[in-house]
Amino acid sequence: MAAILDALKAATDGHVADATAEDHVAGVPAQWVASPGSTAETSALLTAAAAHGLTVVARGAGTKLAWGAAPESVDLVVDTTRMSHVVEHAAGDLVVVAGAGRSLDDLERDLASADQRLGIDPPRRGTLGGAVATGATGPGRLFHGAVRDLLIGVRFVRADGVAAHAGGKVVKNVAGYDLGKLLTGSFGTLGVITEVAFRLHPNPAAQRWVTGPASEPSRIQQLASALAHSQLALSAVELDRSADDSSVAVLVEGTGPGVEHRAAEATRLMGEGSHETDTPPDWWGTEPASPSGVLVKVTHEIARLGTLLEALDAAAATTGLRVALRGSPAVGTALVGLAGLDGDDLAAAVHGFVAHLRAGAAAFGGSVVVLEAPPEVRDGLDVWGPVEALDLMRAVKDRFDPERRLAPGRFVGGI
């Protein structure tokens, strides 16, 4: 043990500590936490971890660490937050390169000075590396695209300690495989991301939100479709829905006169009860309330939102759970929170709820993933659900991490 600790310390200039209860990953205790300060140190660290057969979980701010299945074991937590420097902000090129441990909030401040922004706005902020590893997005995805669409370069360290990079710092680039996309949403099972390059966007001169009521699934569907089909070039279309309240809000961005005109048009389209504001509604860009601690991600074809909402209502009715939803209906993603039960009742109800939704998933054309749940709920639950092309995914994992040491068991199909 002492030899291992020495090796980890040698790799990271002494930045290793014994793990505490705070360092659990989804309830699984860890042994050590190491904080490398560079890609080179991360490489040395993972080389040492490989030599000693350690299982490794990468961690940024820890905001989404409990997402996915619980890892089978965690010997070493690799904390990326010392790699938090901005390598380059090429404002004229609308590109930023930064350490994976930089927080989204800090980066937002860096970019504000140039009146620019990174179009990644997930409810749980955390670090850049964490946003990439989980593929977490927010309302801005409609306009900016997903994390994968904004990531133009990545540097990372493989399970065997080899450091590699793919992409670069230009937006247009088709040289070699796009490993950045493969790493996006891989939950730390293919490598530890140490540096990322993103495409940026200029801040718009003006912004306006229009919010209106809509509660029946058919009405919400009709409204979401009308907005998606409009030529208003909306930056975001968001839905907030719970048992007692429900509304749709859109974000209009652009030049001052253009926004004024388009917001008025959106208000007309959204009909009675809708109104304009200069600030977002308070629920905008946040997660739905979930007193149960269960957070479910659901995707759907955009024209089948109504079917999804009906399926959610039916699943809630049969299980006794109450559903709160925040979604991006023009993108086809939603987060669902659950309430109304606790203890053993909760576990059984959530299992039933998920099974009910998945049984109907073909009708809304999407998937149902339990991102987060208390250990007793997660027990015996397939959080990822059915996965296509799993053999190919396993083959990729086998090549990148043949000893299964990076977050083993956290990802789909036990990867």
Partner: protein, 485 residues
């Protein structure tokens, strides 16, 4: 069994008319858009269905025979260059548009569908397919998917990778898998991200689900003539710096304009050292406002003539000069090399100056046409193969330009792909470790390395044996032709 030996079994399985072995017929397929590389394939399969592709690939896999997919053959990096010892699988008969699903903003197409055809088919619903390579009248969606093709409007709308949400895919083992679909974020690894842009080295796409984009309310296009490329470049920087994201900003220099005039009589302003085409689209209220800004930046940076397209016909004329530029240089030079390097946009003036120095020093003419908004250059290096040594000199200039792009933190290819042509430049951009890591993906999909082998990567590498099945050194390793990976 060798590739030709598959002819019999494949004729029996697929039907005689789908298998070509006649030498003259095979020669039709000996090259793609990069015509100075030529290889006659051993066998051509004209696939008509996913099952045709899967059966062919399975036969190849069983006998370790390489195969290469081909769409319309317009690729500019030799990606569809056949193998003399392999099967060429031609996808162009699979050209059905299976579904235009406007409500879901998606279309499902077979890979042989021509890019522009999809937009034509979708337009009555108010939607179109945004990625628009200049070759869109002939190139296939399958080829676009394989190359992650771009186009003039990718500045605002993104590349093929941003518009493909699902594929049906035949793996190099001949299995049919589905990746993604109409909904986003299918659970698991983003295999789609690996497949799109993999240049046919991970398998063959037999269907693609793609995003359809809502037609903009308004489109406005201007053509601005500048005394030189420096001033045109400064105008581009001013526009982008002001936070305007045009749908497209394209630049041509004097030599490229001369060629375009000779070929298609596009009537660009006389005496221009550079022209910019700037297109804005979106809600009418936004476009009107930003268009004035753009015009102002052009004038402030020395534009001596600005034309605004009055209608679709005039817009098409502006674009005609630009979109025909590659073929047009054929009018002013018997031979040419099209390069595809990328630089950070702010380096544009400096890189253009360096290119003209390189060109002058080597005595080789270079015409420049490029996607100025995203720094994707298409230097056209002109030469006459009939003159001794000119081809070599052109090749040297071409390589020097790519080095210049890499020095400025750019890329050797922005949209045409690495293919056969630029594989040798990959080590200038990527370390051995980087290339080894990419190779891990290749080995996961294609451990036997039979899917378009020899493309993208500079040195053939073999995938490690599965433990317990070790059989001694591979013949290529023994012969010193490959490294064991």
């Amino acid at each position: 069994m060798d590739a030709l030996g598959l002819a019999g079994p494949l004729r029996a399985a697929l039907g005689t008319h789908k298998i070509l072995t006649d030498h003259q017929e095979l020669r039709t397929y000996e090259c793609d858009g990069l015509a100075h590389y030529k290889v006659t394939p051993a066998l051509v399969v004209l696939a008509e269905s996913t099952e045709d592709v899967a059966a062919t690939v399975r036969a190849c896999a069983e006998h370790g025979i390489p195969f290469v997919a081909r769409g319309s053959g317009t690729g500019l990096s030799g990606g569809a260059l056949p193998r003399a010892d392999g099967v060429l699988i031609v996808m162009s008969r699979m050209r059905r548009i299976l579904e235009i699903d406007a409500a879901n903003q998606r279309a499902v197409v077979e890979p042989g569908v021509i890019n522009l055809q999809l937009t034509r088919e979708a337009q009555p619903t108010g939607y179109y397919y945004a990625p628009d390579p200049s070759s869109q009248q002939v190139c296939s969606i399958g080829g676009n998917v394989a190359e992650n093709s771009g186009g003039a409007h990718c500045l605002k709308y993104g590349f093929t990778a941003n518009h493909v949400t699902g594929v049906e895919f035949v793996t190099p083992a001949g299995e049919v898998v589905h990746i993604g679909g109409k909904a986003p974020d299918a659970p698991g690894y983003d295999l789609l991200g690996a497949v799109v842009g993999s240049e046919g080295t991970l398998g063959i796409a037999t269907q693609a689900t793609v995003r359809l984009t809502r037609s903009p309310e308004e489109v406005k296009t201007l053509l601005a003539a500048f005394p030189d490329t420096d001033q045109a470049g400064a105008a581009v920087s001013a526009i982008i710096g002001a936070g305007v994201i045009p749908a497209a900003i394209e630049m041509m220099d004097a030599l490229a304009i001369e060629a375009a005039e000779a070929a298609v009589q596009c009537g660009y302003p006389a005496g221009a050292g550079a022209v910019l085409i700037v297109e804005l689209d979106g809600p009418a209220a936004e476009v009107a406002h930003q268009f004035d800004e753009v015009e102002g930046y052009c004038r402030a940076n020395g534009a001596f003539e600005i034309r605004i397209a009055a209608d679709d016909a005039e817009r098409a004329l502006f674009w005609k000069g630009r979109k025909s530029a590659f073929a047009a240089v054929g009018r002013i030079s018997p031979d040419y090399i099209v390069q595809d390097g990328v630089i950070p946009r702010t380096s544009l003036p400096e890189v253009l100056r360096r290119i003209s120095e390189i060109s002058r020093d080597a005595g080789v003419r270079v015409a420049n046409v490029f996607h100025a908004g995203d720094g994707n250059l298409h230097p056209l290096v002109l030469f006459d193969d009939a003159n001794e040594g000119e081809a070599e000199r052109a090749e040297e200039v071409s390589g020097a330009i790519l080095d210049l792009c890499i020095q400025h933190g750019g890329s050797i290819t922005g949209e045409h792909g690495v293919g056969s042509d630029k594989a040798k430049y990959m080590p200038r951009m990527f370390s051995d470790e980087d290339l080894d890591t990419m190779q891990l993906v290749r080995c996961a999909f294609d451990p036997a390395s039979i899917s378009n082998p020899g493309k993208v990567f500079p040195t053939p590498r073999l995938c490690g044996e599965v433990p317990g099945r070790h059989k001694g050194p591979h013949p290529l390793v023994a012969a010193g032709k490959a490294e064991l990976f």
